[in-house]
Symmetry: C2
Subunit: 334 residues, 2 copies
């Protein structure tokens, strides 16, 4: 049946159903929610009327009286970059286990920054998880006192934060490169800043510590941009024998560039990616990468939200700030 159109556009309410079935509100409630204290006959009659009128209860009225079912917002730069869905998937899983639901906003397309996503999300959710970059403070103010968990954000400007130990990760990578006899390394950074270039800084420090000269270039964080950026670099730096990329997607572009330049990987040049997305295994050669346990990241974010919501953890306190570590997965490319 289509929607009953005596008042077109208007949604049927519980009272319409009650009138149609010749009963009261409460009886309709009982019928719809399978509550006891109602005869089988009336239950069926009411349900039939509800279907005919196209009635479905207002989630607002329900939420108002029953207390909110918590829903968390997830602000993500770009669902097209495989890292983020992998992360989102683990957030959705952890949230679903708690009976929460997840409202996703992807601010990659269009011109909007993360703040637009947050302002869209803010009136709709009880908590926020997101890659907020340097906008974490503004995001927190948009959310008022509701928990905000920022990932990879500089400083502790949001209620909770999850960071990554880049010095540690960079150390892993450069130790590995040094121990396999690489002499000249380049780091292909993202030009989007990210958390104030902390990855680049960590890599630079680690390279210095390992005594390996480091070239640094920038490109927008996509495979094609990375491929194009590498082209010029290879001519300018002939001695290059290792490439570290900002993330796995850029590393994929690097692999393509090296392939078309006729350089063998890892023979002529080693390549290491970052983040550990499943894509890495599918590339040729398979990508050596600094991997995150992606499920752990999502779980940690949701755990933190739960702790903040329940008050078990004080916003901004040390307990609300986690640091996760990458792990070096050695495959074929380095």
């Amino acid at each position: 049946m289509t929607r009953s159109a005596d008042a077109p556009g208007r949604r049927a309410t519980i009272l319409d159903v009650a009138a149609a079935a010749g009963v009261s509100r409460q009886t309709v409630t009982r019928a719809m929610n399978d509550m006891p204290g109602i005869s089988a006959a009336t239950r069926e009659r009411v349900q039939k009327c509800a279907v005919e009128l196209g009635y479905s209860p207002s989630r607002f009225a329900k939420g108002l009286v029953q207390g909110a079912r918590t829903s968390v917002g997830l602000a993500i730069p770009d669902l097209t970059n495989p890292y983020f869905p992998a992360f989102a998937s683990s957030v959705v899983e952890a949230a679903t286990q708690r009976g929460w639901n997840v409202v996703v906003d992807d601010y990659g397309h269009g011109t909007g920054s993360g703040l637009d996503a947050v302002s869209r999300l803010a009136p709709q959710v009880d908590a926020l998880i997101g890659y907020l970059g340097e906008h974490a403070a503004e995001a927190q103010s948009l959310m008022g006192s509701r928990p905000v968990v920022g990932l990879d954000c500089p400083g502790g400007s949001s209620a909770g934060s999850i960071g990554f130990d880049y010095p540690y990760a960079a150390g892993l990578a450069l130790d590995h490169l040094a121990s396999t006899g690489r002499h000249k390394v380049a780091f292909l950074d993202s030009d989007q800043g990210g958390p104030a270039g902390s990855r680049g800084a960590a890599v630079a420090a680690a390279a210095a510590a390992a005594g390996i000269p480091l070239a640094r270039i920038h490109a927008s964080p996509s495979a094609t941009a990375a491929r194009d950026a590498i082209g010029g670099l290879l001519e300018k730096e002939p001695g290059l024998d290792a490439l570290l990329a900002f993330n796995d997607v850029m590393a994929a572009g690097v692999l393509k560039a090296l392939h078309s330049a006729g350089r063998s990987v890892p023979g002529d040049c080693a390549v290491i990616g970052m983040d550990g997305i499943p894509l890495g295994e599918l590339l040729t050669p398979e990508l050596t990468t600094l991997a995150l346990d992606l499920r752990a990241v999502g779980r940690a974010a949701v755990d933190l939200v739960e702790a903040l919501l329940s008050g078990a953890v004080e916003p901004g306190s040390p307990a609300a700030s986690l640091t996760l570590r990458h792990e070096l997965i050695v495959r074929q490319s380095a």
Copy 2:
């Protein structure tokens, strides 16, 4: 009049703020929503009180009185399969443009079927978009008279449906294979059924039409499963010179299997994927694939939801049923 805000778990309401600022509800509303008719001094005082009390307006009360901001549910099998985030991204984009928001449920992890996702989503959204498989009818009944747009579902059991012209796509692929002189083709299908094996059936028909013998095998739709499945096939079918995969992810696994078996692509064996996800370009060799315009798919789904919500299109009518076509993108692998 003054409510005790000392009850610790209780959220602050507009009345708490009003009492703290010594004004009425309505003045708080005016201050929070930047409405006219309030002096700058009181506005600031009220806003300060709101921040101090950690007040944020109840989205339920707001929605109840102001009329719903429409939110659509997106039920997706597996965010880990790159196809779905690519699709989700375009849905989120189209929905955001309309001021809607998107609640995502990923039912891939855990044991739950798509129906669990729908039942979680149903009380939270005004419309549903999803890969519902054969559960489209049940999904529709869970959603009552609210619009449901099922993708790739058999039959017209939901209000709206978006299908794909598999015979056409399979024709494209097999014509291309035939015209490049392939003699023996295998189709690696998903064992998840999908829409009753319609991809496999279409490929079989097209192969018959092209006069090319076809072998069919099945595997779960992941790259590793595909790789493992191909291993055996290559020994059993030595004459095989072309492989068509259920989707691009499986095609990636196929490429790996061929590579480790020492078969060159496309020299010894051509490979064609399906769906056209960005991943394909990053593989070696780059994947020839039957591509969907993924942004168009998301846009079509959201357009259809809008038409159903507004009543411009009758649920279940021919206008509510779209068919999209794949396009053959020839890259290196075939």
